[in-house]
């Protein structure tokens, strides 16, 4: 199958992409990421990537926090191409389950540009049912990362997240410093069972731009340097039935 690899410069960063198989690279979140320079010298930045070929074991890469009973669904690397991890929560109202990195290893700080992307599928138990969240959040992964009864993400945190509440037919994007949140609620429509790529770029100054399927959304958020470091987190919450998130990958790159 013929490929058409090309180099591409944006924001002073050089990358490679495939014009035949992945032309949207030129507009997506990674176009300004100096990944090759970091690969050549780790002192320039950090690369965190989980493609979910391996299991998610508590106290290894991810720490799992679950409230309520054990889910009936199997948290497992699925028999599906590309490495897909299915993460379940129990089905009682407000039961939840999160996976968070062991440490708060990222911080939105001046000069510390950051790129984030995750690809996932949320097939909810019924029309508009269920809650999911993915992002970089201070204190994330604990109980109530998504608050009970559709009250949104943590009330007090530094960072950003993509989330859907039960009853929502869209994916929201929120950025936060302490108790001050900015939320964009309706730019990204959500359809159960559809695979989405969500991304975010923090420019190392004051702007977070968020992406859906490689397209930068109209509303960028302004955010000052945060005081708290952040976990990488994903998880699901029930409003009365078991839910699961099928994670394809999460990647976070930040200048060191």
């Amino acid at each position: 199958m013929a490929k058409q690899m090309r180099s591409y410069w944006d924001g002073g960063a050089m990358n490679f992409y495939d014009q035949a198989g992945n032309p949207e690279f030129k507009i997506g979140v990674w176009k300004t990421c100096p990944l090759l320079a970091i690969e050549c010298d780790p002192s320039l930045g950090t690369i965190f990537f989980d493609d979910f070929f391996d299991g998610v074991v508590s106290a290894d890469k991810w720490t799992i926090v679950t409230t309520g009973g054990a889910a009936g669904g199997s948290t497992v690397i699925a028999d599906a191409a590309c490495g897909i991890y299915n993460h379940y929560c129990d089905g009682d109202d407000n039961d939840d389950s999160y996976c968070a990195t062991e440490g708060e290893s990222w911080k939105l700080a001046t000069g510390k540009e950051l790129w984030f992307e995750s690809r996932f599928t949320f097939t909810n138990s019924a029309t508009t049912a269920g809650v999911f969240v993915i992002g970089l959040m201070e204190g994330a992964g604990a109980n109530l990362t998504m608050q009970d009864d559709e009250s949104g993400p943590l009330a007090d945190y530094d960072g950003f997240c993509f989330f859907k509440e039960s009853g929502d037919s869209y994916i929201s994007f929120e950025s936060s410093i302490a108790t001050s949140q900015t939320t964009t609620a309706d730019e990204m429509a959500f359809v159960s069972g559809t695979t989405y790529k969500v991304g975010a770029h923090y420019d190392g100054v004051t702007t977070i731009t968020f992406y859906l399927d490689d397209v930068a959304q109209a509303t960028a958020h302004t955010i000052a340097a945060t005081g708290g470091e952040m976990n990488c987190v994903f998880g699901v919450k029930s409003n009365g039935a078991e839910e699961y998130l099928a994670m394809d990958y999460i990647k976070v790159v930040q200048l060191r």
Partner: protein
Amino acid sequence: MLKQTRSFWEDGALNFYDEVLNHAFKVGVWSKCPYWAIKCDPSFGTIFFDDFFDGVTSGDKWTVVEDADKTGTDVVADTVCGVYHHYCDGDDNDESYCATQGESWLMATGKPLWFETKLTFTNSGTTAGVFCVGIASGGGGANTMQDTEAGPFANYDGFYFYKQSGETYISFESSLAGAQVTNAAFQAFTSGDTYRLGVYYDGVTTITPYVNGVAGTAHTMATNTSEGNAFFGVKSNGTAEEYLAIDYIKIVQLR
């Protein structure tokens, strides 16, 4: 030591290689792999790589399925490059396999795949022992190599490299359900020699095996219907315990 890093284009893919240290790159399995485009954007493809610096712990990256009572120690050996020794017990038809937790690869139209492993099988006696490595639906389960030299699974999607006891060669087999194509004398085998075994599936209908960076006779294979695990393992023919020394396994596929 002088190096000569150069860029190389093949089939539209750009790569870098070292002309002094690794000039065989240009004819090997990786020459057409758009690795750097995947590194720059993970949505384009997947990269699975184990260089075996870490141990193989059942329930993490690899799941171990085996018959009991082996005395050999599965361990990352005290040798350069990260080499993992994986043993089976020594009773006739006792076996031990490592398989990825999920069946995470599917040879499907538009999804080219590149596979390579480097391994050494030092058998317990002349032509003794069985080893296998590959990607197959159900790969790494019991009887991935059937008892009494009956070959790989009778029904699977994917491919194997393998050697059975009594054989002095490595075979390559591709399979779609119950239909197998086998190159039985793909590569002469010498106990204790290190081999690089590779596969390129073109995302259409051709799967090409490689040994030590050189392409062998290609097979025609239609789109698979079942995903496959990556796996490797050993089986005894009753002579003694056997072990496989695995240096690395790498698999790249478009997403």
